[in-house]
Amino acid sequence: MNKTKDAADTLSKGGTFADQAIDADSSKLIETPKSLSFKYLGCMVLLFLPVLLLARYPQWINIVAFTYLMGAVAVAWNIIGGFGGQFSLGHGVFFSIGAYMTAALFINYGLSPWITIFPIALVAGLVSVLISWPTFRLRGPFFAIATLAFNEVMFVLANHFDSLTGGPRGLMIPFKAGFANMIFTERSYYAYLMFGFAAFSVGVSVVVRYSRLGYYLLAVREDEDCARACGINVLNVKLSGMAISAMLTSMGGTLFTMYLRYIDPPTLFTMSDIGVKFALLSLIGGIGTIAGPILGAALIIPFENYLRTELSNGLPGSNLAVLGFLMVLAALFMKKGIYGLFQEKYGKANKPALPTPMSVKPGGGAT
């Protein structure tokens, strides 16, 4: 059993903070909780720097805050999409649950988002299990399309049940500043908040990745049938991964609502802004890695802002045409995302070549 898990680990597509090379002779892993915590803290410090440096520049602080928020949710998506290999395009559903429920509870009952964020996340987790249970039978592109369908259904329902969601009018949260309300006059506090969330999200991601669940997820990603044959309860693994991912995503939705203070169906369900965005950020950063989604967010979000402001005097749509073109180029030349690019340049010499199932010798171990 041990060796199979090691083999599963070897087969993992991306790297992590350190090289995942397994000593051919021993099956000991290089990552220990201590080394992990060091790396995590170190990276959190790095991550905090932009917030610190840019706190006094209002035009930057918005971009920073939004980047961290999107990055954090991309990290959440990555748990099931990257580690688990289940390419979900329906995470907008969980995001919107967090958004709508937070807004409704705040507006109607005055409940502070600090209190409601976790219970709502649990609801989102439950919903995710309910809708994923039947859909996880599907693989690959079929799964993706099914999750896409969920997103569309939610859009129609959100528009229709306007007593709950404000329908097409949306919900607007009045500006009642106060820490308890999670509404700040000082814009930089949002950046701190989003940083905190990003740190939390990455932390959860690290814990999952190096836990048993994490390895099970990797195994399921690599070869579902093989994993099942090894005794892994594939469905439970997928559902657990999805639940954690959904809960984090919903928390992102809560923060999004308190940050924007205005949500409506177009804002929440436009695929290219929300649903697909998390997947895209993870892909460009390096899917399946821990840092990848954050790197992807750090690259894409400020850049698309930059393009929009630079090209706003040109023909309409020029900024997005350029962005789309660059996305295609990025896909072609950075096949493993930014993280993969780093790995290629700085990866350790004894990094194992990506083996296919055929090349794993009987008895486990690296090729």
Binding site: L157, G324, V328
Partner: protein
């Protein structure tokens, strides 16, 4: 209840539109196995192409498609060769790339048109046949006839010609086809080309029916995916029937329940089919077991 015949006819004609848009996607999806987000944009390009031919050269879409469709097909081949093919080991990146293409195409057309909507067919699209109490729009009837002919033609092509059979072989078992000496990469190129041509043709046929905007492709793409899954991977008749079923269900739901909920209704049905019979109506059983691994 007296309108039921009318509703059914409307549903069938609508289904014809769905089928036409989906048939190219079905082919591409079945063979190349990617979620091609940019498919709707290929239809959109077909629409703009016919619009251009009509306003600049006064050629009707029912004639200009002979040029417009192959041009779109060419774009498809370029996409396959330079974007999809190099990424065959990274299926997630393929999705990312097709999404980039979607953004590119939509926004290039936005730059060209500056956001103005276009329409044609003021004169010709007025024709409608009256059969007793029923009214049939001629332009939609043409679409229905076209999609039927195409389906038949494709069926013959896929079953009776050697090239067609090689396409089916690749759909069923890529490794086995390669072992039989079929050039899989060339098959991909061919399939994408045909699929894109069909999308362009659909665009031409739809030009007299809808307002043309850069985002018009997005109105069809989800329905198209639903039809493809419903009909079954790799089955041409599946796409055709799937389209008709979706069209009829949507028309019935819209008329008898509520027009606003119509898209949700067939999406729910689509989800149910996915759960109960994921291979679709006429698809190959076990097709849903396709994993990303198979892309290599």
């Amino acid at each position: 209840m007296d309108q039921i015949l009318n509703v059914l006819i409307i549903g069938l004609l609508l289904g014809g539109i769905y089928g036409l848009v989906s048939i190219g996607l079905n082919l591409i999806f079945g063979v190349v196995r990617i979620v091609n987000f940019a498919q709707g944009e290929l239809v959109m390009l077909g629409m703009y192409g016919s619009y251009f031919a009509y306003t600049q050269f006064n050629i009707s879409p029912y004639l200009s498609f002979l040029v417009v469709a192959p041009l779109v097909g060419l774009i498809g081949i370029v996409i396959q060769r330079f974007v999809i093919q190099p990424l065959r080991a990274e299926s997630n990146m393929q999705i990312f790339a097709t999404f980039g293409l979607l953004m590119m195409f939509q926004n290039i057309m936005l730059m060209v048109t500056k956001g103005e909507a276009y329409s044609i067919g003021g004169e010709s699209s007025r024709w409608s046949l009256s059969v007793g109490e029923l009214s049939l729009s001629v332009v939609r009837l043409i679409v229905f006839v076209a999609v039927t002919l195409i389906t038949v033609g494709l069926h013959i092509f896929l079953n009776k010609t050697l090239t067609g059979k090689s396409i089916r072989a690749v759909t069923q078992d890529k490794l086995g086809a390669r072992a039989m000496g079929i050039n899989v990469e060339r098959t991909y190129l061919l399939t994408f080309g045909i699929g894109a041509t069909l999308a362009g043709f659909a665009g031409a046929m739809l030009t007299p029916i809808y307002s043309i905007t850069p985002g018009v492709g997005g109105n069809f793409i989800l329905a198209a995916f639903a039809v493809v899954v419903l009909g079954g991977l790799g089955s041409v008749w599946g796409a055709y029937l799937g389209g008709l079923i979706v069209g009829v269900v949507e028309a019935l739901a819209g008329y008898y329940i509520d027009p606003v909920l119509r898209s949700a209704v067939w999406f729910m049905i689509f989800l149910v089919v996915l759960m109960v019979r994921p291979s679709g109506l006429l698809g190959m059983v076990g097709a849903e077991e396709v994993g990303f691994r198979e892309q290599n």
